[in-house]
Amino acid sequence: MTRWLDRVAGAWQRYFFDPRPATDLAVSRVLFFTLAFAYYLPQDFSEWGTVSPELWMPTTLFRIFALPALPAAVIHGIQIVFKTALALAAIGLATRIAMPVACACAFYLLGLPQNFGQIQHFDTLVVLVCAILAVSRAGDAWSVDGWLADRRGRSPVAPSGEYTWPIRAIWVMTAVIFFAAGFSKLRHSGLRWIFSDHLAIVLVRHQYFVSDGDPLTTWGPAIAAHPWAARLMAAIAVGTELFYPLTLVSARARLIFVPAGIAFLIGIRMLMGPTFEPFVMCSVFWVPWSAVLARVRTAVEARRARQSAARSVIDAELAASPTAATLSRAAISTPSKSSPP
């Protein structure tokens, strides 16, 4: 038993804390906070401060911490702090302060609407990601803080578990959410969720302005008109949700289920309306940015090498025949279909 526990503990520690370069987490931080800033910048949370108290139905979190619906002017101030913190976290300035501040503001501002009659789930992953990043070292690289530290003579940022666990924790929470949604469907409805007309009816219902957002297309009723298509979609949805946790342990599964999950959320938005954009933003943490950047760097260097070699040939031709060299130079500077770069 002890040996088994040791093995589990060892696997846990390796999964979350094996050293990784800072780039994956840092680039994800830049993209996540940039997208969050762009998404939340036009949003106004302050009107929640003007809503009738009869509609105040606090969630457990707000009840435990006795958090009230603050006056509109105060909420307005909090949202300015929130959006500023998102921008600072994106560029990596005062990151160790900006990320916890963004997290605290996210808990209040994104949690506030949930106290008015219905809990919606579009922002929950954003809040959890903010909580994870708040205690992370995501600002060590690709940041103004890092650049300033380099100028002060900081030694190069070495691979560390500090750059592994936040990404892996975000993966785990994403997988838990997808799995929970699939499990709920089977728990409450069993296979009837797939093999009944449920999804077809849901697709039609959402044409009656009953969601938080309007469907981006009118394809829902068209799909609903073919029960087999709606059932196939239901099966794919439940399959994607239930098997999503495979992404935690398999790179191949990541290649299938992460894009499938994103397509699933975009599909919901297009056919039914619910606004899962914040959830999609969190997908940036699945991309192995250090590998992507290494490929880009290799491609750029190869291109430079090719151009340099071509120039050497031109210079040699120039020495032999100036007219031919001019033609070659023109061919290189304006590549056509017949002359690949």
């Binding site: 979350f16 804390f17 106004d44 949370f45 929640w48 809503v51 009738s52 009869e54 509609l55 139905m57 969630t59 457990t60 979190l61 609407p113 949930q114 008015f116 009659g117 219905q118 809990i119 789930h121 922002d123 929950t124 809040v127 959890l128 909580a131 994870i132 205690v135 560390s160 500090e162 666990w165 936040p166 924790a169 785990v172 929470m173 838990v176 929970a180 949604a181 709920s184 469907k185 728990r187 409450h188 409805s189 009837r192 969720w193 009944s196 449920h198 009816i201 849901v202 039609v204 044409q207 009656y208 302005f209 009953v210 969601s211 938080d212 957002g213 009118t218 009723p221 609903a224 619910p274």
Partner: protein, 154 residues
């Protein structure tokens, strides 16, 4: 990575997992943790009952509020569910009147600020609206039945 940092990370991951597992197992919801129950209960009824807010103009015309901007900061889903919850209370009638007065006040203020294109309103009404689902929602503006639940005026 220091031992204290590793401990902090382990505690956070453990807490996030434990709280999520609790909600999934108990089928409960403690935002931001949840069992994610949306759309999980099969409903094969082709009837739709919804609480919808309408505004009344000075010449007595009624318009349903369908856009997010018109019911801001609510949306159609949250507003209907919230009003449905209030409707089960003992003082529902007076509470709904107070809520509609508050919604009407905000609707007019936001309209004057140019934040939505709804018509000028002097009154707001809450209806319970019933439809038999049409494959293309062609009967959206002609429901089978409408029952007045409450109203408020400026």
């Amino acid at each position: 990575m220091t031992r204290s940092r590793r401990l902090l990370a382990n505690l956070l991951i453990g807490f996030l997992l434990a709280a999520s597992a609790y909600d999934i197992v108990k089928d409960e919801e403690h935002w931001p943790f949840s069992q994610y129950p949306m759309f999980s209960r099969v409903s094969e009824s082709r009837n739709l009952t919804w609480l919808r807010v309408y505004v009344v103009t000075s010449d007595g015309q009624e318009f349903p509020l369908l856009t997010h901007a018109e019911v801001f900061p609510f949306d159609q889903s949250r507003l209907s569910k919230a009003l449905g919850a209030v409707r089960t209370r003992r003082d529902a009638q007076s509470e709904i009147a107070a809520i509609l007065a508050n919604c009407l006040d905000r609707y007019e203020r936001l309209r004057l600020e140019g934040r939505h294109d709804g018509p000028p309103a002097v009154r707001m009404r809450l209806y319970e609206v019933k439809w038999t689902l049409h494959p293309a929602a062609a009967n959206l503006s002609s429901p089978d039945e409408r029952t007045l639940v409450g109203e408020a005026s400026l």
